[in-house]
């Protein structure tokens, strides 16, 4: 398969930050040799899951061309993002890849009417020449998310609920008719009774509008509900990736196993299992700097080799796992 068959192709990207002064500082590898790709013709929801400090958001910035990778490349529709320099090219890229952020109350300025953002987006991305023509485009986008222009006209952000506002922010992202939405924790600030409306919306966009979605979250339950594939991140590395039902029904990496076990299930009868004590491990910076597997300090099945070298990608049971436990079991 040539690169051009892929909508997005992430090739071994690494992002390194320096903490502290030039002389005494430390290196922090926030994203470490990450690769994955999305198909061009078959839209899907791809989840990047992990705890805070796992590098999810840094990876999102790399994909949005907001941050240059230290090494590796992000290729979108056959074009390396590093070659996008001019304003015209940037606009062309932004048209196709749109972000949705975590907190809708921070996305919109409290002093501006929300409809203005929608009109601006329509005009800036060339979907309409003036406000009158834009209103058709805006109304269309709002209908996709289950709202109408009437409902948001002349409203300020505080006059809408968190759920409504998050849907407006998805509508805004849809106006340029993107191929890919990058949603960073889009439901974590939204109330329980409205959360499923947003989550269901991503499903609908994939099925009816052929929009692919990269869903970044720490919530494995909603990830299981909507996504097709999932990548579990730990300290900058993707430790396990594959079809979501394979990975979460039968996790292979010990970290994925701990993560899945720790998600509280809304079933009181199963609580005995959840209450079983766990080891919380060391602080963040120590794990980032660890040589060998980043999980070795907390892993219940740690071996000598895990503390010495980084485990390679092992293809096993329909997924990729970075763990020595599965060496020698590779499927071809």
């Amino acid at each position: 398969m040539s690169t051009y068959d892929k909508l997005l192709d992430v090739q071994r990207v690494t992002a390194v930050f320096h903490i502290g002064s030039i002389i005494g500082g430390t290196r922090l590898v926030a994203v470490n040799d990450v690769s994955f790709s999305l198909d061009r013709t078959r839209p899907e929801i791809f989840t990047l899951a992990g705890e805070s400090g796992s590098g999810k958001t840094t990876l999102a910035r790399l994909l949005l061309h907001d941050l240059e990778p230290t090494s590796g490349a992000v290729i979108f529709e056959g074009r390396d993002l590093a070659t996008i320099k001019s304003r015209k090219d940037t606009l062309e890229f932004m048209k196709k890849v749109q972000p949705v952020f975590q907190n809708p109350f921070e996305t919109f300025s409290p002093l501006r009417r929300v409809e203005d953002y929608l009109y601006d987006t329509a005009i800036n991305f060339g979907r309409a020449k003036n406000r009158r023509m834009a209103s058709v485009v805006v109304d269309e986008a709002l209908h996709l998310v289950g709202l109408s222009l009437e409902e948001v006209t002349r409203r300020y952000p505080h006059e809408l609920s968190g759920g409504q506002l998050q849907r407006v922010s998805v509508a805004r992202a849809l106006i340029p008719q993107p191929r890919l939405l990058l949603a960073d924790e889009p439901v974590s600030m939204v109330d329980a009774s409205l959360r499923m409306a947003i989550v269901n919306l991503f499903r609908k966009l994939r099925d009816e509008q052929q929009v692919s979605v990269i869903y970044i979250t720490h919530d494995l339950a909603t990830a299981y509900y909507i996504s097709d594939r999932i990548a579990i991140m730990l300290r900058g590395l993707v430790v396990e990736s594959g079809p979501v039902n394979e990975v979460l029904d039968r996790p292979l990496h010990p970290y994925t196993q701990v993560l899945k076990e720790s998600v509280p299930e809304p079933v009181p009868e199963q609580r005995a299992q959840w209450i079983r004590p766990i080891d919380l491990g060391t602080t963040e910076v120590k794990e980032y700097a660890r040589i060998g597997c980043k999980f070795a300090g907390r892993c219940p099945r740690v071996m000598d080799i895990c503390r010495q070298t980084n485990p390679p990608d092992i293809h096993v049971e329909g997924r990729i796992v970075k763990c020595y436990l599965y060496q020698g079991q590779e499927s071809s």
Binding site: S193, A221, L248, P266
Partner: protein, 330 residues
Amino acid sequence: MALLSVQNLRAYYRTEVYGISRIVRAVDGVSLELQRNEIYGLAGESSCGKTTLIKVISGTIKPPLRVEEGKVHYQFGSFEIDMLHISPEDLRRNVRWKEISYIMQGSMSVLNPVRRVITTFYDIVTTHQGYTDRKAFLGQVRAHISKLGLPPDVLNLYPHQLSGGMRQRVAIALATIFQPSLIIADEPTTALDVVVQRGVLQMLKEIQAESNNTVLLVTHDLAVHANVADRVAIMYAGRIVEEAPTSLIFNAPRHPYTQHLIRSLPMIGDRSSRASLPGAPPNLANPPGGCRFHPRCPHVMDICRVEVPEMMTLPGNQRVACHLLAEGRR
């Protein structure tokens, strides 16, 4: 007798700006009882009045918040207090930290950022107990910390040197140093990762099991309640709509709002479609009449629009406020 009894509590925020007065009915007719030796879960969406209820229960009532009506009565081992009429001095000397302590979401704001953790422990003892023997107290703190499974060197560190989960566990250690009768935990794990959340809640549960006190656990996360709480109350728009032992709330919810919340929870291993309720929670400055859930309720009747449903007690210690029950329809 119950440890805490709240009767028909109404607490409103009254503000007047440029002659425009506004009343936010944040807690509007709440009655509940907390028993000794239980974990009581309180769930609800943002701005449903959870935090206002805690403020009144813990005696931090400051304008514009005012208690309009109701009773908040505590029965501790040796004495009883009326929280709405206690003097601030009495509250500080005899009640706070000793009988009622508080764990909040951002533990960073409990710990003084420019002083070592141990200093915060000293601060608490000087304010609430009067200064006694410093060495003996240090020994008591050390013993308490090691019993909770925290490394003893955390006492000599500054808050920023601790991870989020460790800070929250130190905050829990602080809150439990005098073995209080009631621990109020307000979203104690919301900002934490799932693995750390599990560790922190395990610790809270262990403490409760050991000292047999009462924990009021407030969080919007129902899955946490399913794993930790003994009883759960569901709040909607300033009122409790349903309260029951945890297994009944999850297996046989009776209020349409609770039913919806439970049904819409996503679970690993189940991809069947989850529906979402139409509309949004009401603005408490101008709530709908009758049952506050009626504009969003799939089973709404005429009576729901005009009359506030009474709390009814069903077999199995389940309390529900819904007209459908009086109608005998379910």
